[in-house]
Structure formats: C-alpha cells, structure tokens
Point group: C2
C-alpha cells in the first residue's frame, strides 16, 4: 500500500480516457480493502476484526489512516467499535439492534417494551420475478425469486403484514419451514445461514386503505388507513437483495423518524 502514491487511484481510467482525476485518498482505498474482507466473510458478523495496529501493519500505513477508514465503516453501521475490546463486524442478531430497520414504535413506551414480536409465516414459495420485482432487485423479468408473506404481532395484536421477495440464487435452500422455525430477526437468519448482510435500505411510505384481504389478516375494518412501506434493502456495494412491502397499523404505533 505504501507503494501507491496518495495522488493516484487503484481504479482504471475512464473508458473514454478522459481526464477524470478521481482522486482517492489512501484511507478510502483502505476502507475498500476492509470492505472486501467483510464481504468475502474473512471476518464474520459478531466477530472482532484485527486491531488498528495490525491492520496498519498489514496495509503498511499509519494507525491514523486505518482509523479514518474504520471511522467511516462505523458511521455506516458496518462495524462497531468497543473501547478496550476491539472493533466488531455489525450484526442484526444483537439484542439492542434487534429492530435496526424497523421504525414502527409503540405510541407509549420504548421500542420493544411490548415484549418480543410474534412472527407468523403465512406463505413462502418459489416464483418468477415480475417486471416490477425484477427492476427492484436488479434481475431480469422471469428470474427465479422467493416470495414470502408474514404477519408480525405485538402483545397479540396483528400489527404488520409484510410481503417480501428475495433473489432465489443467493438464498438457495430457504423454505417456509426454515423461516417459520426461526425465532428472531429475519436479517439475523440471513446472516448466519446465507452469509448475507443487509447494510442499508430505502423506504417509500404512503397512506393506503386496507383492502384485498389485508384487512382480514390485520383484523381491521375494511378501508382502515394503513401505512404502506416499500423497502429495498441492500447488501455490501449497494447490491439490492430484498424487496419488502409492509402494511403497518398505526392506531397504537407510529413510524418514527429523525431529521437532521
């Protein structure tokens, strides 16, 4: 790494050969290398990665440079620092980050204060991607996908109905039984069983009336307003890996968001 002057980049020039400086600081390159190791599974979720000193030696840079690379990974929640202990690969399986991607919280009380969510798998089958699903998951129409539907209940009250689509290839072997028998966050199962980590997601939120059988599953009157939440979740390198359509009851819960 010391052999690479900081004013150059590892990336090839533009195809057109244009003068695109594309200056990439050393710490960004280090970040990329660490990202590669995360992606390849060299360090697994929950495990510690090498110390800053070790990484500095490995890449032949100063501790400060490694530190800045890790800073960015920590900001993106890819990695968690713990003073005196080390830096750990982030995971969805830990207690205090159980609902990292679930922004629906009870109107009174803290997130999770109602006790654990009850998860009920309604359906899970292999099918083919519609044009819409294909676009969301960067597949081709007709490619094999897994489709599932489930209901989440809090304190016995059905609150969330979700349909989700996954590309079949990376999730080969996922069945309704496997899903139903796993008690815990779905993303934690993805990590342990398929080495697939959801790292970032985009959501589009609308208000819709409960129709088409959703009113029955959520046990609300037909026409009740529901929050419609469409999510595309990404793994490393911004690869889309899941499309999810959720319908949230908001009579006792609300979607919470912080702006800054």
């Amino acid at each position: 790494m010391a052999a690479i002057p900081s004013s150059t980049t590892l990336l090839p020039d533009d195809a057109a050969g244009l003068a695109t400086p594309a200056f990439s600081p050393l710490y960004q390159q280090i970040k990329g290398l660490i990202l590669q190791s995360l992606q390849s599974g060299e360090w697994k979720p929950g495990e510690a990665i090498p110390s800053e000193m070790d990484l500095a030696a490995r890449y032949r840079v100063s501790q400060g440079t490694v530190r800045k690379a890790i800073d960015e990974l920590a900001t993106g929640n890819l990695v968690v620092r713990r003073q005196g202990k080390g830096t750990f690969v982030a995971t969805h399986a830990e207690q205090h980050v159980q609902f990292r991607f679930l922004k629906l919280v009870p109107d009174s009380g803290m997130p999770g204060s109602e006790g654990p969510a009850q998860r009920e798998i309604i359906d899970c089958r292999r099918t083919r991607a519609s044009a819409e699903v294909a676009r969301a998951l960067a597949l081709r129409s007709g490619d094999a996908v897994l489709q599932a539907r489930r209901v989440l209940s809090f304190a016995g009250v059905p609150t969330i109905l979700e349909d989700l689509w996954l590309p079949a290839l990376p999730f080969k072997g996922l069945t309704a039984e496997r899903l139903a028998s796993y008690h815990g966050p779905m993303y934690a199962l993805f990590e342990t069983e398929f080495n697939m980590r959801m790292v970032r997601a985009e959501e589009k939120i609308r208000a819709e009336s409960a129709t088409g059988g959703r009113e029955t599953l959520l046990k609300v009157a037909p026409g009740t307003p529901l929050l419609s939440v469409e999510r595309i979740a990404y793994t490393y390198r911004d690869t889309p890996m899941e499309l999810r359509r959720g319908y949230y009851r908001t009579d006792t819960h609300h979607y919470h968001n912080t702006l800054s």
Copy 2:
C-alpha cells in the same frame, strides 16, 4: 484552553456528588465553544467561520483538535465545509438544501423537479398553548403561542396541509402578512428575521382518513387516506421551537427515508 487538562471537564459535578467521571475530550469542549458562538450569532447563517488555523490559535489547541470538533458539527449539518474556501454556517436558504426537512418527493422525478412549491397561508393567529402543545414545546399550558395553517401545492395540486405552533416570545412580530409575503422556505425566514435556526427534528408518522375539513383544503374525497406527520423541530442545544402537524397526499408523492 491549554490550561484545561484533557482528563477534566468544564461541567460541575453531579448534584449528589456522585463519582460520575463524565470525561469530556478536548475536542468536545471546543465543539461546545463553537456551538456557543453559532448560537449567539457571532457567525450568521451562510457566513464563513474562522479558519481551522485561526480557531486553533484562538482556543490554544492544535489544528487537528479543532478539525475533529468541526467534523462533528459538519456531520450534524450545523456547518458546511468547502475545500479551498472555508467552513460556513449551515442555512435553510440555499437552493440545494431547500427541502432539507421535507421528505415528501414525487413518485417520478427528482425532489423539486415539479418546480417551486406554491405556499398559501390560510390562517395565522396568536393563541394560548393547550396542554399538548405546551408539552411539545416545553412551555406551560396557557403560554402565548403563534398558530398558523398553510397549504403547499405542487404544479397547482394541493398536496400538503400543515398546522404549526411556535412559542410567541422568540417569534415576536411574526404575522400572517409577513408569512404570506415571504416566498421561500419558512425556516429560512426564521433564520433571517428571528435568528432562529432549526437544526434537528423528530417526526411521528401515521395513516389517517381525511376528515374535519382537511378533505376540502386538499381537494380529496372524504375518507381518503392521508399521511399524518407530526414534527417537533429543535434549535441548538435540543430546545424545541416548533410543533407541526402535516397531512400529506400520497397519490402522486411518497415519503422517502433511508435506513442504515
């Protein structure tokens, strides 16, 4: 500043005299001092703050320490760095941050691609805080507040209906005329006229049916599902300064959110 050993803190001990270390690193103290200057209006929105070198000299610390303090302020969007030019106090008045706190975007096209929003003030009057408003704004019930109602339209279509409450004291002199005659983001007016900068906000989102006259103002059928967005906006030091209740049509727009 050099006189303050890094292992101590400027804050007084706990009232109980308990051994709460409350170790505060130097750069946090510097951050606090810069924050004070921002709050006092020593540097105004849009202006440049002193260079890192100048601030380092002023506080008698190294450039790196000032840098880390500014890093955090920049992360919180309180300040914007521009390489080669300087560091500037963030503002809601700039083109590319016009809608910093508005997460409603058109289903197709970029945010703002529909041209400027039309703002229509329906009402603005002085009143007294209900228990609920008082709680949100950290006032006492009955304290004087300003209440306003407006409709935002995009491409001529009424899309957002908002009721908002402001503490009367900091916004002394705000009238319906002043609001109506100002074309631009409301938060920009707050900055220039009242030296009040909204820095952070929390939103609670629900799905509700259009009733109570809201269907008329938004020109939708009664019972149409709307997104209900309750926002509390904070200025420096986490002081609540605005309560806002918005009702968003989501037939051609959606609330966009990024999770990470």
